[in-house]
Structures are given as C-alpha cells and as structure tokens.
C-alpha cells in the first residue's frame, strides 16, 4: 500500500486518542487525583486531542470498588464530575473488556451518557463475545472500536478471520494493538496494510495502540499512520503499563495539523506528570520490559521484576526463556 500524506502536509483524517488514565491506571490501580484527571481533560481540550479515554467499564461484581480507583469503573457521575456536559470538541471514550464487564447493565443509552465512544477490548478467541458487545454498544448509539489484543501471538489465519468478522459487524474502527511491544516497524507496516485494506472495504477506520518495550511505540505509531491508520493512541510522557505507550508530546510534535498544540500537553507534563514521577510511580523503557517484548511475552513478569528492584537481567532473561 502506498504512503499516505507526507511530512509537510496535513492528513485531516488523523485523530489522537489520549489513553493516559486508562493505560496509566494499570500502573496505579486507577488511583489518580481528581486534580490530575481534571487538568488532563483541560490539557487535552486545549491541545486539540480528539478523544480522551477515562478508563474501564469494569464489572463491580468481579472487581472490588474498594481496591481500585474510580476510573476502573467510569461511573457516569464520576466522568461528569470532571467534564460536566463536556461542552468541548473532545470526545470521551471508555474501554470495556470482554468477560470483565457487565455491559448490558453498565453501558447505558448514548443519549443518557456523556460518553461518546466504547472501545471493546478482546482476544482473538473471544471475538464472538466481542461482536455481541459491539452490537449492543452500536444499538445504544455509540461510536465503537474493537481492539484485538495480543495479535503478535495469534495465527495469521485467525487474525484474518477476526478482521473479516469485524468488517461485517457494525463496528466503526478496528484497532491494531501491539500488546507486548514486540512488533518492529516492518511488521507494523504490513499489519497496517492488512487492517486498512479490510477496513476501507467496509467503510471503517483503523487505530493503533503501541507499547514502548523496544522503544518503538512512537515509531510504530507514525509508521502505521503513514500507511493509512488514522486513530492514534498516545499517553502523556508515555505513562502506561510497563514500558508505557507512544508519548503524546512526540505525537503532537510530529503531526502537522494546526489544530494540534503541544504547549498545553507540555504544561500538563510539567505540572502533573513530574509529580507522579517524584512520588515514585514507575513506567518507561527498562531492560526487563525489553526482554518480554523481545520474547513476545506478556509484560507481567517484567513488571514484577522492576517492582522488586531486580537488576539481575541475565537471570531474569534465563527465567523468561523457560516461559517462551
């Protein structure tokens, strides 16, 4: 597939989704202060960011509300506590995991909600359940994406089938997700071509959500964009699980659309993200994350390794080899 756009022009189809709270919440169990979320919302509005993901719609039967911050559940009242009626151009997104939410009950009709977009996260083998959720959310009036996770471990034929199922579904956007941060730009380009071909034939768009285990989150995001992927996930200063995500500041610095403004994002990082770092919250590239990414493994072992302050990287690597 040919390159779309270039470094001098605006691709008006490109949109940014800020996933700071949702992916960063995996680091601190969603215990962000209201001030943090408030400031982030306002920074996103000012920076021209198109969507802000507030967190998960997790089941309160499966997850103890005492053990997690409110953004794991994203109650309507809690979002409205930040955004009011959201009188801005920024759209509000939440993620709903297959098998970990009570979507029929917890996702209300769009006209009763301040939420604009439901992001259905699924593994390949739970696609039928994901399709039910997609149909439910579309029937309720939402913009809906489907984020197929862990595709670096999936069979290509299964992935093709999943994309075909989504093409025939009412979903609006299909997400290319590099869950383990294991994919190289070369692979991202070829996957982007595959996703974009399927999506365009069904009048849908493609998004990308990258991880920085191999310091490729930003590179993979802009390489995917150059192949026609148009909804780009980023987080402030990479904040996110393990090695983190594509940095919002890098993405805002890269895109040429004058509606984007890096300055408010920098201000937010300066005022809020540096505070989290000073308080000891840990994320970003580190050897253990590189090793799980390199071996195409879930980052959980690396997260434990970093949490325990281990720097016996060779021993950790040997342990991982036994799991891969």
């Amino acid at each position: 597939m040919a390159q779309k756009g270039n470094l001098m022009t605006v691709r008006s189809d490109i949109k940014i989704l800020d996933a700071t709270i949702r992916d960063g919440g995996l680091v601190n169990n969603f215990n962000f202060s209201d001030e943090f979320v408030n400031d982030l919302y306002r920074a996103n509005v000012k920076s021209g960011v198109d969507y802000m993901e507030f967190g998960y719609k997790a089941s309160k039967e499966m997850f103890d509300v005492e053990r997690f911050g409110k953004w794991k559940f994203c109650d309507e009242a809690d979002i409205r506590g930040i955004v009011g009626d959201n009188n801005s151009d920024l759209k509000i997104a939440v993620m709903a995991d297959v098998g970990r939410c009570d979507y029929k009950k917890d996702i209300v009709d769009r006209d009763l909600s301040v939420i604009d977009m439901i992001r259905v996260a699924t593994y390949i083998h739970t696609m039928p359940a994901a399709l039910h959720m997609i149909e439910d959310a579309k029937a309720k009036g939402y913009e809906v994406t489907c984020n197929i996770m862990a595709i670096s471990n999936a069979q290509e034929s299964d992935l093709d089938m999943a994309l075909d199922m989504l093409a025939k579904s009412p979903v609006d956007g299909i997400y290319l997700v590099d869950s383990y941060g294991s994919l190289y730009p070369e692979q991202i380009r070829s996957l982007a071509d595959k996703y974009v071909a399927v999506a365009e034939s069904a009048d849908k768009y493609v998004g990308i959500h990258a991880h920085d285990n191999q310091q490729l989150a930003f590179a993979n995001t802009i390489e995917a964009a150059a192949r026609g992927v148009s909804l780009l996930d980023a987080t402030m200063s990479c904040l996110g699980r393990g090695a983190g995500n594509c940095a919002m500041e890098l993405l805002l610095g890269f895109l040429k659309n004058p509606k984007y403004n890096m300055y408010p994002a920098l201000k937010f990082i300066e005022e809020q993200v540096t505070k989290l770092k000073a308080e000891g919250m840990v994320w970003g590239y580190d050897i253990p994350y590189f090793l799980t990414g390199r071996l195409n493994l879930h980052p959980s072992a690396a997260i434990d390794c970093v949490k325990e302050g281990r720097t016996d990287y060779t021993e950790f690597y040997t342990e991982l080899l036994d799991r891969s």
Copy 2:
C-alpha cells in the same frame, strides 16, 4: 530503493560498532574506570560486536589532559592497557574531529598501532579539511569513515556535494549522522537511499549514528539498515550524550546473524551500567532533549536544563523558540 533483507534472514554485510565510551564520554568527560572499559571490551568481543570505539584522538594542545579522562585522547598505550594486542575479531576505532586533533602527529602508522579504524567527524563546511584527514589516515593504512554531522541543518545541495567529494575520496565508509535526534524514519529512509546510492557507485559502505531525542534512535537505525546501511552504531543501554543513542541490547535483539549474542551485553549492563546510573550519571529520553530534537537544535541547552534539574518545560520551550 528496495528493502534489503527481511526479519527472517541474515544480512552478512551488517556490522555493529559500539560507541559507548566515545559518546558516553561526552556525559562524564571520559572518566570511565579501567574496569568499566575492560569489561566493555570483553562484553563486545563475546557479543560478536564488530567494532569498538574507544574515544577521541583529541589534541593535547587544545584540551587539558588533567580535565578529561584518557579516552578523550586514546593514547596507544592506554588502549593496549585494555586490549593488549587485541587478539580478537573485534576491531578498534577512534574518532578524530576536524579542527580538534593533531592527526599528523597523534595518528601513527597503522602497523605501529592497535587501532583499526579512524572515524573522521566533520561538519559540511569543513569537508576540505576532512578530506585531508581521510587521505592521511588512508595513507597510514587505516580503515576510514567520514561522519558528516548536523546534516539536518545542511542544505541538500551542500550535502550532495559533500557526498560527491567523499565518493571521489579514498574513504571506506560514509556515515549518516542524526546529530540532533531530529529526523523521522521517513527522512532517514530517504537519506539512506541517497547515501547508499552514492556509496555503492563508489564501492563504499554507509553507516548510521542516531540519537534518541524523539525515541527514534533504534527505529531509525533498523530502518536505515533495511535500506542498505550496513555499519550500525549502538551504545550499551543507550549511554550517550543527552538522550543517548541506539541501544545495543535492542540492536543485538533485532539482528538475526547467529554471530551476535545479546547475553554478554545484558551481563555488562547489569554489572556496569546500572552502577553508573546508581552513581547519578544521567542520560536517556527526557522532555528537554525531545524539545531540542523537535526544533532541530544542538542538545547543549537541553543538557544544561536537565543538569540544573529544571522541569519548567514550557518556559524552556519558549526560550528555545527564540533560538530556532
């Protein structure tokens, strides 16, 4: 230009150069312990790294030997103190800056030296002086590369002329250098095509030296490799000035040639690099480096900003705008 090789095959023309001491020396004025350099040499040999750059051949008239560690000068005896007669497959490189060395005196004949490669670093406007140095080093029997710095600020026509001068020179390799970490993969691909076309027509090779200001050092390095660039610079755990360089561990993890082995590099990082971090040596991606990279400026202001512990990123950004 078409892609060379793929993710399943070996490109036997590809070689790795470890620039840890030379680029890292810009952070600590070359004050590495002998143990560090010794262990690094042995790790590089075991990892199958092809070249190790020990530092600069700087003029002792211009630079005070009391103020810098010995790797700023790379005396023959000091290198031999680490490598003996270097009975290994690893080749030894040093860098010589145009206008900052006494190459006629300080670079001795190859058969009297344990050094294998001279890397001549130059700006576009000092190309004539660089050519003198290249001719001198070639006449003395060395493998010679020319590293044209700061090309992101050069006129394309000047760059074309410089490449043409090098094509006609006896230099062995021409380096694509992203001094400010300002170039995106799209630009690197197009520059790599330009460099490789010129080099191939003159039977020379092309190298790449990247910086991580926009978290693109590794991505730019492997993208350049895919276009035919064959000498790849990396440093252990990115150690290098400002945002640092392409990480050796990432590169060793990426390349498929079975002669490369990531394990000894990991061991070195675990035993030596973590110590430097613990002692307070600072390098790696940070907002100020991103901002100079984004604005295509020399990282010096960002280095000062980080050194002073400033996190007033918006103020720093405004200051930079006045300089760009």
